[in-house]
Symmetry: C2
Subunit: 324 residues, 2 copies
């Protein structure tokens, strides 16, 4: 496939996912009224749809041929992702998401919690249609997501957070759901055990890289899903560049960095970045991203050449180059 054809095909899949989400939400509003409307708006506000796209491509790569068979899982992944965003935004007190006001900002916290629950229910309802092995994979990774969020809260403003702590959080929060989607797809496509394992690893590596990029974008200031630059730092989240710099710097620089993280405000951005550069922490993150993406690509090696493989490789590149 030519580069243009690849981009067109990815756009086509995204449109297909969006159309399916729109139909679903419309149907659900007829049944469940306001909660479906409110929660549905979050889902339909946009987003890269990387989880459902990965699921569809992993399914095709693993030999799946009936798109109808994989749609519920693809939609399920986006609904559960949206549910966790709604609840995250409450906990992070974020007032906007994807450029729109969050539910708790407009309708209050109670409705936001319930709207998130409704999205979980819809997601699990769709995911629950599959065989027990698929359900188990999805339930396991969603449970790990909750576990990782607990750990993340425990490490808020914890300046002694280690790279291992960070990796554990990222694996649970982002890599787990990516991995679960890829493995779930392989199971549904009745791939071999080896292929299922390869796709699980592919999703894990891609997910780690995705989160590392996300954390870099928070610092470097691109507009991530309508969230403010520096949101993670304001929330006291210990991302890898901070952890790395806190580990490497010493003396006055270390003291100053700790002060900046603990009492962050917008005026400190330039100084923060200069300290991170001094420790080469941004470069370190970039190298790690590259490494994880290369490993992700490696897990695709064993699969026969096909359109889905080319598209997945392109998704890997997109994760590398993404600015939002």
């Amino acid at each position: 496939m030519e580069d243009n054809a690849i981009l067109d095909r990815l756009e086509e899949i995204r449109d297909f996912v969006n159309a399916n989400l729109e139909t679903l939400i419309e149907e659900k509003i007829a049944f469940y009224g306001e909660v479906a409307n409110v929660a549905g708006q979050v889902v339909l506000a946009g987003g890269k749809r990387i989880r459902p796209i990965l699921i569809i491509l992993a399914y095709e790569l693993a030999g799946g041929e009936n798109i109808d068979e994989i749609i519920p899982l693809a939609l399920s992944s986006e609904l559960i992702h949206s549910a966790s965003l709604v609840h995250d935004d409450i906990n992070d007190e974020s007032l906007t998401r994807r450029g729109k006001e969050t539910i708790h900002a407009t309708m209050g916290q109670a409705k936001a919690i319930i709207a998130g629950d409704w999205l979980f229910t819809q997601g699990f309802g769709l995911g629950g249609r599959y065989a027990e092995d698929v359900v188990d994979v999805m339930a396991h990774y969603c449970s790990q997501l909750a576990s990782a969020e607990f750990t993340q809260i425990d490490h808020v403003l914890d300046l002694s957070t280690s790279p291992e702590d960070y990796l554990e959080i990222v694996k649970g929060k982002t890599a787990g759901p990516f991995a679960a989607g890829c493995k779930g797809s392989a199971l549904i496509a009745k791939a071999t055990e080896h292929q299922c394992a390869q796709l699980l690893e592919f999703g894990t590596e891609l997910g780690i890289a995705f989160q590392l990029v996300d954390d870099l974008l928070d610092i470097l200031g691109d507009d991530r899903m309508g969230k403010t630059r520096g949101a993670d730092i304001f929330e006291g989240k210990m991302t890898l560049p901070l952890i790395h710099a806190l580990t490497l710097l010493h003396g006055q620089e270390r003291i100053r960095l700790a002060e900046i993280i603990t009492n962050f405000d917008d005026s400190l951005f330039d100084e923060l970045i200069s300290l991170l550069r001094s420790a080469e922490s941004l470069i370190y993150s970039e190298i790690l991203i590259k490494n994880h993406l290369e490993r992700a690509l490696g897990y695709l090696d064993g699969f026969a050449e096909c359109d889905a493989k080319q598209l997945l490789k392109h998704v890997v590149t997109m994760v590398h180059n993404r600015h939002s």
Copy 2:
């Protein structure tokens, strides 16, 4: 079965449910750490286990003979119920539940939201093991639960709430999950379509009565699951006795009742109860409870006599006479 044997058997089933919940939580703590521990404590803090007991009995009544086949659904119902309690308690700002401090009271709101999500995930993971028809029933009623909670929030301190509004909320919040459990069990037991429908109606009627009793207990002051007497009134929840009295009373009594509901505090309890008695609202609720329970019993008529039927009839009596 003799009365004593019935009580013993119900106690046995409750112990069996509790033992299974304990094992499950213990296993999950090994995997998911603190979040499982924190959420597990809510599940294991006690409770009547009426949902899992109903599920097991409905399964047996519908001809199911393999208890292992129904356990996941029974546990799932209690986990999802616990999840909704954790989130309700945040929204109601309740500091205790079942005599213990709530999660958000001890660990903060963020962890409470996530612990609830974890319980949902566990519940759906177990429920997702069943065939699509069962999953659809469970997902539908959980979605309705969220929808009913939205409606309930909209009616907080809304003195013009109608009995129909109330019934819609109760059907979604309590009757729906009861009904879904009973119907789900019948489906798993491969009961006839007619039997599935009868058990769905049985669960609905029992669930409505259960909530009506709960609302009466809030006013009459028994200790409901460790919640304070009058908690609903403090939270501005429009329960049937209040709605009924607001409809029937007029003149000074109506004005005073509205004042009491709007600015409730403990010192107003006696006056509130005397106004509710003046409108015969407590008697009205009691008659409705009796009617719904009689209808529930009627839906059991078509089933052959068996232990499960006797036990279910006893559960109906227990709902009538419960004091907590």
